[in-house]
Symmetry: D5
Subunit: 92 residues, 10 copies
Amino acid sequence: MNTAIVQVRCSRDLIPETAEAMAALEGVAEVYSVSGDWDLIAIVKVKAYDDIARVVTERLVKVPGIMRTHTISAFRVYSKADREAGLNFGER
Amino acid sequence: MNTAIVQVRCSRDLIPETAEAMAALEGVAEVYSVSGDWDLIAIVKVKAYDDIARVVTERLVKVPGIMRTHTISAFRVYSKADREAGLNFGER
Amino acid sequence: MNTAIVQVRCSRDLIPETAEAMAALEGVAEVYSVSGDWDLIAIVKVKAYDDIARVVTERLVKVPGIMRTHTISAFRVYSKADREAGLNFGER
Amino acid sequence: MNTAIVQVRCSRDLIPETAEAMAALEGVAEVYSVSGDWDLIAIVKVKAYDDIARVVTERLVKVPGIMRTHTISAFRVYSKADREAGLNFGER
Amino acid sequence: MNTAIVQVRCSRDLIPETAEAMAALEGVAEVYSVSGDWDLIAIVKVKAYDDIARVVTERLVKVPGIMRTHTISAFRVYSKADREAGLNFGER
Amino acid sequence: MNTAIVQVRCSRDLIPETAEAMAALEGVAEVYSVSGDWDLIAIVKVKAYDDIARVVTERLVKVPGIMRTHTISAFRVYSKADREAGLNFGER
Amino acid sequence: MNTAIVQVRCSRDLIPETAEAMAALEGVAEVYSVSGDWDLIAIVKVKAYDDIARVVTERLVKVPGIMRTHTISAFRVYSKADREAGLNFGER
Amino acid sequence: MNTAIVQVRCSRDLIPETAEAMAALEGVAEVYSVSGDWDLIAIVKVKAYDDIARVVTERLVKVPGIMRTHTISAFRVYSKADREAGLNFGER
Amino acid sequence: MNTAIVQVRCSRDLIPETAEAMAALEGVAEVYSVSGDWDLIAIVKVKAYDDIARVVTERLVKVPGIMRTHTISAFRVYSKADREAGLNFGER
Amino acid sequence: MNTAIVQVRCSRDLIPETAEAMAALEGVAEVYSVSGDWDLIAIVKVKAYDDIARVVTERLVKVPGIMRTHTISAFRVYSKADREAGLNFGER
């Protein structure tokens, strides 16, 4: 599973509508209204890494109300399960 | 469920160790190594809102290697389920 | 009581009117005209944490003149009373 | 009453202690641990404007753990009471 | 005497006119065209602290050509005279 | 092929040595000394997306002289060949 | 060979089209859609240094959809081959 | 008369002492403790423009406690007197 | 001779024309198209310091295509000749 | 002739010494003490573009007192002579 965190600034009077429209997109797991510099944060989860480009540069651009996005790519996920299994993270 | 997104900068030579130590904390759902200005992002999920302060200002500060954090609070979550149920978002 | 601090930039010729309109909203305790990068700061105080989203993303957006907001969530309040009582802050 | 909002960055492992020490100072009404770029925000309320300098540049500097502060001055407060009284804001 | 330093960005083709209009306002002591991020800096000097709000949020907004302002409040003035008098700065 | 662009700030007196050490790493295609805010930029090219984490958070951290990195992930590459082939970019 | 790295922000609904148009330009080796503050990054490779100005200030400005660019010049390239040859980097 | 506005960040526990030491320097008209990103602002007024360099890069650097300065040069002053005299600002 | 360095952002499709128009102005010694956040940099050299205001706030504003400028004042020039003369920079 | 503009931050108590040492370097035409975020600006002029790397990443790093540099590359110079000759700027 590949993950990206997309920070979104949208039209001030369309925050809930934009959030709902984003949440309905395939590949978008959750959308939050948030504190700070951005209005919304979407968690994108897709099977193939190439699909992040598809969600971010092709699907999100069709959601009305989005004015600007800033995408953060996740390289690797760390979880409680890994730790309990004493998982070896590669060549370290 | 209350959610916070914690961006973390840590000692350059301790990124995987810091990530694992954070992932092991109660209240931390997932930790990602990420692109951009920060080294790691932790997704914090707690039942009571007050527990965010406990995780962020009391537990995370004990993880060696963390140099600086920037926390984003989620106000509300938007999901596919809400939309399908035609959920009414309050007084709009 | 949950608190949020909302920094607001508004139309330059509507600062007092915007401030008064914000001060009249339910959940807004005080509004200040301020020095620095923002024109106004509102202190939001609500009983349920979920109401912050309601005030910030639903009510404030209806105030004409507001151009941009930046919300800061308060996690915990520290007061003189706590200190005098020798209050124990959880698991530290 | 004159108000200032003081944003504080402090030693990561001293956040609750610094907050309590600040809250105990004369002239400090409330201290919050907060989301975003700063660790703590203090609301300073003093009778004479000159006392803001005293609190910010003389008392706060004695609190161990504070690394940097950014002070915002409030010029005027807008409240529900003013509005209800149909208060006239000066020469506008 | 209370002092504020107001940094101003104005329409590029109206810099001298905006500067003159600002200089003519009651409460504005001097206006400078300046190097750096801002076009003009005004030094505001008023007797009562409350008048800073009046100058900044009510009078300056009526000057055509001003696009954005950033106000810095002075808390206390230090002068050669104070030093020569061996003035005691309060409780230090 | 997956690509990442890593911006690097390093010890001022070790720029050529750091650049050479980075260029020697498996997965690093090219290193440039550059204008602007950063000292060096490395182009990382790896077959599996997961290897970006390996190069950035495990191998680069062992290069002495690197003080800070900022990684940009490439989502998709656009080339002259694609255009000439009239390539269809997915579901648009 | 002279290299420049051009970061591009473009109209949100024209990202793939802008990327393809840029990739077709003479002097542009590759274009990537990317994470972070910018939408696209183009790698420009030209024989004569003067041609960078031609590509950046004359050709790229004709691509519709580009709103802003930020160009980084590469001063020198470091490669695995140089290292293996024990290349002497000038007067160090 | 040539004017410069010098913003100063100083050691947190030396703000009043640094302010007094700066105010005592020849060429420094006034020093203010201020709101915002900087601790102090000094107004430098000298007869010859070359003296600004002397005050800023030679005298101020000897004041203990100053950590960083940011100088703004004033190009021209606009005053009420000019306006009343119907002063002609050069070749416009 | 007084020097100022003026950074300019201009309309994307008018970079060479704006550069030529600036270069033709009296007081402008050279104009460069540049890497980084700005499109052009002009080196202004004038005999009297007051002329910098004339060039920057009166002449440059008439050049079509300029959107924003950021001026840096030079306080003093250091040259090889000074050094060879064993010039003493003492505490002037 | 290739030109680069190097912005320099140096140790506060070594500004004139650092400026002189930089001015003495081969390839450095002029050094200015300046207003704004940086302490010094050096104009580098070299015959071959590759020499910019030599001056910036190899010679400047040996000057004691320099803490950080930010280099801007000039792509093309525009001068009064070009304009008078009715010079044609390439393929526009």
